[in-house]
């Protein structure tokens, strides 16, 4: 591949003070975030938290009101073509030209990319059973999504940005897609940013998880470490508050609606339950509910 991958690469993505508003509503509010190179990072947030807005802003598809986005070391708002060719993007809503057939679409995109992998494209088209000669508009939602994934993988991007890529796939289709993603990661150390609300998929492939809430990244941490250091507490608020301070835990829950989740600050074991406070290991779902409330 190209030589620039061999020396130190800048952080794949760097966002500083990014703000985006729709009318009076501030969706991103001075958001700071760094994406490590070569990692699969899951972006988690509730519906309407701004995941798609964040993705569009970091790709330069939406102009922020304030702040800066650097993608592969270049400002997102003015990405040179050669940098754009190193990025793959699967948007939440299919943006394929509906009057073309899949074969015509792929032939069209192929002409833009020097690193187009035709063998992989042909393999995926057969394995994923995508009709080649029907207008794309006539394909099912799942097939369109698969085609969109093929298109994003075909030029072997260094950075792959996936906005709810599996929303219209059935469990078998999601499994195929995850397998393909795993292959990509092994072969090319692709950096993957993966937004989804299907936590079980994310758990399988994400090394890091980031929680978007209140217009900012509330927490970005390795998933394994987060699961091992977090506990779900049960009991009345006063008892829990005392327990948290006695064990010097870091409370993660943002308000009283979700489960009460706290994180140990050191490598000590799980604090023992008391007659008034129950302690259980936290799952990703607990963390999601607590952090994105």
């Amino acid at each position: 591949m190209n030589a620039s991958q061999d020396h130190a690469v800048p952080a794949c993505l760097s966002l500083r003070g990014l703000s985006v508003s729709f009318g009076a509503q501030r969706v991103l509010d001075g958001l700071d975030w760094q994406l490590p190179t070569g990692q699969v990072v899951g972006l988690l947030g509730r519906n309407g938290a701004g995941k798609t807005t964040l993705i569009e802003a970091l790709l330069g598809l939406r102009e922020p009101d304030a702040g800066q986005a650097l993608l592969l070391g270049q400002p997102s708002q003015a990405l040179p073509d050669d940098v754009r060719a190193r990025i793959g993007y699967v948007p939440q809503r299919s943006d394929l030209f509906e009057w073309l057939t899949a074969d015509q679409l792929l032939a069209y995109f192929r002409s833009f990319y020097p690193r187009w992998n035709d063998a992989m494209v042909q393999g995926l088209m057969s394995r994923w059973d995508i009709a080649r000669d029907k207008p794309i508009g006539k394909l099912s939602g799942g097939q369109q999504q698969r085609l969109s994934i093929v298109r994003a993988l075909a030029h072997q991007p260094e950075l792959l940005v996936l906005d709810e890529p599996v929303a219209s796939l059935d469990p078998a289709g999601r499994r195929d897609f995850l397998g393909e993603l795993v292959d990509q990661v092994v072969d090319r150390r692709t950096t993957v940013l993966f937004s989804t609300h299907i936590l079980s998929d994310l758990e399988r492939v994400a090394v890091d998880v980031a929680f978007l809430t209140g217009g900012r990244i509330a927490l970005h941490a390795p998933l394994d470490e987060l699961l091992e250091s977090s506990v779900r507490l049960g009991g009345v608020p006063a008892d829990i508050a005392r327990f948290v301070s006695e064990h010097r835990l870091q409370a993660l829950s943002r308000d009283a609606r979700g489960p009460v989740v706290a994180r140990r600050r050191d490598a000590s074991g799980m604090p023992p339950a008391t007659p008034t406070v129950s302690v259980d290991p936290a799952t990703l779902e607990d963390l999601f509910l607590a952090l994105t409330a």
Partner: protein, 132 residues
């Protein structure tokens, strides 16, 4: 040939996937299903078949190596270490079950179930799987 079907992962668990894999190998070695010299699947094959990140599989294998349960053979394959020739005595194996049963016991107490009823259910479940 390494048997991939010995491995499975559950998403949605509080136990990270790499720990699930480590615990499965530990149990298979203790039970004698995996013995000295048996090969583990490659990181890539296992990651592919479970649809998990290869780094997660590597992490599990690294931990197993550090524990002395497996050794890295020249080339790529990980094999079960020399000292694990036969299954551990049942008295040791049963200890590995303790954490899971402790959790179950806690739930039995929370549900205020009599232990006879909980034990009867456990017996039924054990027999269900014997038939498979």
């Amino acid at each position: 040939m390494p048997d991939i079907s010995l491995f499975s992962v559950v998403a949605g668990s509080a136990e990270p996937i790499y720990r699930q894999l480590v615990a499965q190998v530990r149990r298979c070695v203790a039970g004698g299903q995996l013995k000295a010299g048996d090969e583990l699947p490659s990181v890539r094959d296992l990651a592919q078949s479970l649809a998990v990140n290869p780094m997660t599989v590597s992490k599990a294998f690294g931990l197993l190596e550090a524990e002395g349960l497996v050794t890295r053979r020249r080339g790529l394959a990980m094999v079960i270490a020399e000292q694990h020739r036969r299954a551990q005595p049942a008295a040791d194996r049963v200890d590995l079950l303790r954490p899971t049963l402790e959790r179950a016991a806690q739930e039995v107490r929370q549900l205020q179930l009599p232990s006879s009823q909980a034990l009867a259910l456990f017996k039924t479940i054990l027999h269900e799987h014997e038939g498979e």
